[in-house]
């Protein structure tokens, strides 16, 4: 789960990471209060959960209260990369002398967290690091040992930091690792960390994404799915424990595993069709989950057909079939539906689907199912 910048900064502040003086606002009254608290001039930052916000015009500044109100209205009336702006973060505007980059994420290959520090912070950090690899220092961290402060100092010193800046920056890097660790983060990032002309240091950009699978031990964090997920179908999918991605076609896809659903999509495209979505149930199929999945995908008005592709290894297929039949009889969809079921008690599942009048594919190959569907659609 991604946190908004202002939420991430709340947490950073609690870990003694200095963040600019700021306040959130979504109305002129709140802008007034925020500017009063922060002082002019201000930076105004749209709170959206998408990267590339600055380049998309999501960050403004203002020298007067009137201008601030105007800029906020402007930001809130538009979408940033398809994301509605529900509130802005108003912060003191700082004079930047230098920008640094700090990040912690999981290195998938070693399975260890990796702590990164760069002297070339800013929006183009990844291209700069590509061109100037010497501007980045990083270290893989043992999860059972954690990151020591001296290790953070080593990292910063590698890039030439010294004196009080070395201490301040490495303390922040150390704190950032602690945030990452304690919040089960997938990524914790400060970009940029700025040094002002007065040699003060602030985390100006903040990113924190928490592992969805670890939310059970972070109950203090408000889910607020309606604010975090724009697409309504996707939001419902998350609530039901399904993984859903909207695509731009018209053939609905449900698969009992991510790989199988991906292959189904690839094959639809290969055979000249256009997939409308990716939906994966995972290994916990129940009658209710399947019913919910079918209902959810059928909510998409663009659909011309639906293909359901299930392998029962751990998943009981009769329960899946029951769920499909239930949704089918409730909604009576006018579009063709095709179900491929293989594995765990397949015969029983086939019988249930066939007696409900739902066409079943009994072959192992997904290609057979997709080809049949394309034939039905006359393509």
């Amino acid at each position: 789960m991604r946190l908004f910048e202002y939420e991430a900064k709340e947490i950073f502040r609690r870990f003694d990471i200095p963040v600019p003086n700021g306040a959130i606002a979504s109305s002129p009254d709140e802008v007034n209060l925020a500017v009063g608290k922060v002082g002019l001039p201000v930076a105004i930052k749209a709170q959206v959960l998408v990267g590339g916000r600055g380049k998309a015009g999501g960050i403004k500044s203002a020298d007067s209260l009137e201008e601030a109100v105007e800029r906020v209205e402007e930001l809130m009336s538009k979408k940033i990369r398809g994301h509605v702006v529900r509130r802005v973060l108003i912060e003191e505007k700082l004079d930047v002398k230098h920008e640094y980059y700090l990040g912690v994420t999981i290195d998938q290959l070693s399975g260890k967290p990796v702590v990164m520090f760069s002297t070339e912070g800013g929006v183009d950090i990844e291209t700069i690091v590509e061109k100037k690899p010497e501007s980045l220092a990083s270290k893989k961290v043992s999860v059972s040992r954690g990151l020591f402060q001296f290790e953070a100092r080593d990292i910063c010193q590698q890039l030439g930091l010294h004196g009080s800046l070395l201490l301040k920056a490495s303390n922040i890097l150390h704190s950032l690792y602690n945030v990452f660790n304690q919040y089960d983060a997938m990524i914790a990032e400060i970009n940029p960390l700025i040094v002002t002309k007065e040699d003060k240091i602030y985390a100006v950009g903040a990113v924190l994404e928490i592992d969805d699978n670890a939310l059970f031990r972070h109950r203090g964090i408000k889910l607020n799915l309606s604010e975090r997920v724009e697409d309504e179908i996707k939001r419902e999918a998350i609530q039901q424990g399904l993984s859903y991605v909207k695509l731009d076609g018209d053939i609905g896809v449900i698969g009992s595993g991510a790989g199988l659903a991906m292959t189904t999509i690839d094959l639809i495209k290969d055979f000249g069709g256009k997939p409308a979505n990716f939906l994966e149930t995972g290994g916990g199929i129940t009658e209710q989950l399947m019913e919910g999945a079918v209902e959810l995908v059928l909510k998409d008005r663009r659909l011309r057909a639906l293909v359901i592709n299930l392998y029962g290894g751990i998943n009981p297929m009769p329960a899946a079939a029951k769920g499909i039949v239930k949704a089918y009889e409730k909604l009576r969809p006018k579009i063709p539906i095709l179900v491929k079921v293989i594995g765990n008690q397949q015969e029983e599942a086939w019988g249930m689907l066939e007696s409900a009048g739902i066409p079943v594919v009994k072959e192992i190959q997904t290609e057979v199912a997709v080809r049949k569907l394309m034939n039905i659609l006359g393509e």
Binding site: I106, V114, L136, A258, G259, I364, Q365
Partner: protein
């Protein structure tokens, strides 16, 4: 033969009394897997399908020495259960559980590596050596004994590819699901090494998918392999995900897409299947 395990491997089941654990224990016993005992804290003394059940792994292994454990444990308890197995000197763990926090998987991997144990998964269907043993949840009917080794990141796609091969009369030496979580216990390259050394495996089929850099890393080893490798990569149509922050991009450097995997594997000499059924024709031309 087989890699990692064989027909003699003695297995314990952690979480044996749960709904899934109990059914899958029965299916593994039916297949001939040597399940010697089960563990469920608080349920010791109640046998499941004739398998004795204990409260702790330590008590289990003192009565029934075992090399492997398969875990049907809820995600929130998996770290505890996996470390319990590692501490009791179990050297091979099959972690079926889905939705495990990445930090927990990282911890388990580190603990296993420290003592020379190996975990496969999480989110794996497990491992099957057709005709010999299965430590996993895969439907046995789609596999048959033979000499193709399969490594898959996806469970369901493993069944699809193995099923396609079996239908064509091509059997498998071993099929290993390594899982597709951001962190996994065992990497693709580790399994490739084992297949390269296994005298009964003639060819390796890789079933990959978008995300991560497993396939890209595997390509480095494939260049040195003597055995032919074919690959099918799912997710060519997947749109790039919305991204926050830069850390992922700095590490990945353009890798992780289906196309990047296909290109890198092809350069390493791997034959690429465009569709699952192409795996069959490619295997036929190589064998």
């Amino acid at each position: 033969m087989c890699i990692l395990v064989n027909e003699k491997t003695q297995i314990i089941v952690q979480g044996i009394t749960g709904g899934v654990g109990s059914i899958q224990t029965k299916l593994m016993l039916d297949y001939g897997s040597k399940i010697v005992a089960g563990v469920t804290p608080g349920k010791g003394g109640t046998p499941v399908h004739g398998v004795p059940v204990y409260d702790t792994v330590k008590a289990t292994v003192s009565e029934h020495p075992a090399e492997a454990s398969i875990l049907f444990i809820p995600a929130s308890f998996i770290k505890d259960a996996a470390v319990e197995a590692i501490d009791s000197d179990i050297k091979f763990l099959v972690i079926i559980t889905e939705h495990i926090p990445v930090h927990d998987t990282a911890y388990i991997r580190e603990q296993a590596e420290a003592v020379g144990a190996r975990a496969i998964g999480p989110t794996t269907p497990g491992i099957i050596c057709p005709g010999k043993t299965k430590i996993g949840i895969m439907p046995a009917s789609v596999f048959m004994e033979g000499d193709v080794g399969i490594i898959s990141r996806s469970g369901t796609l493993l069944y699809e590819i193995a099923g396609n091969l079996t239908l064509a009369g091509i059997g498998q030496s071993a099929c290993v699901g390594i899982g597709a979580d951001p962190v996994v216990g065992t990497d693709m390259i580790d399994i490739l090494r084992l297949f390269e050394e296994d005298e009964h495996t003639k060819l390796v089929a890789i079933v990959g998918e978008i995300g991560g850099v497993e396939e890209e890393e595997a390509a480095k080893f494939i260049g040195k392999m003597t055995k032919p490798v074919v690959a099918y990569i799912a997710g060519r149509v997947a749109p790039p995900g919305e991204r926050m922050g830069h850390a992922g991009a700095i590490i990945l450097r353009g890798r992780g897409t289906a196309q990047s995997k296909i290109d890198i594997l092809r350069r390493a000499g791997v034959k690429i299947a465009n569709r699952p059924s192409d795996v069959v024709s490619l295997v036929k031309t190589c064998l």
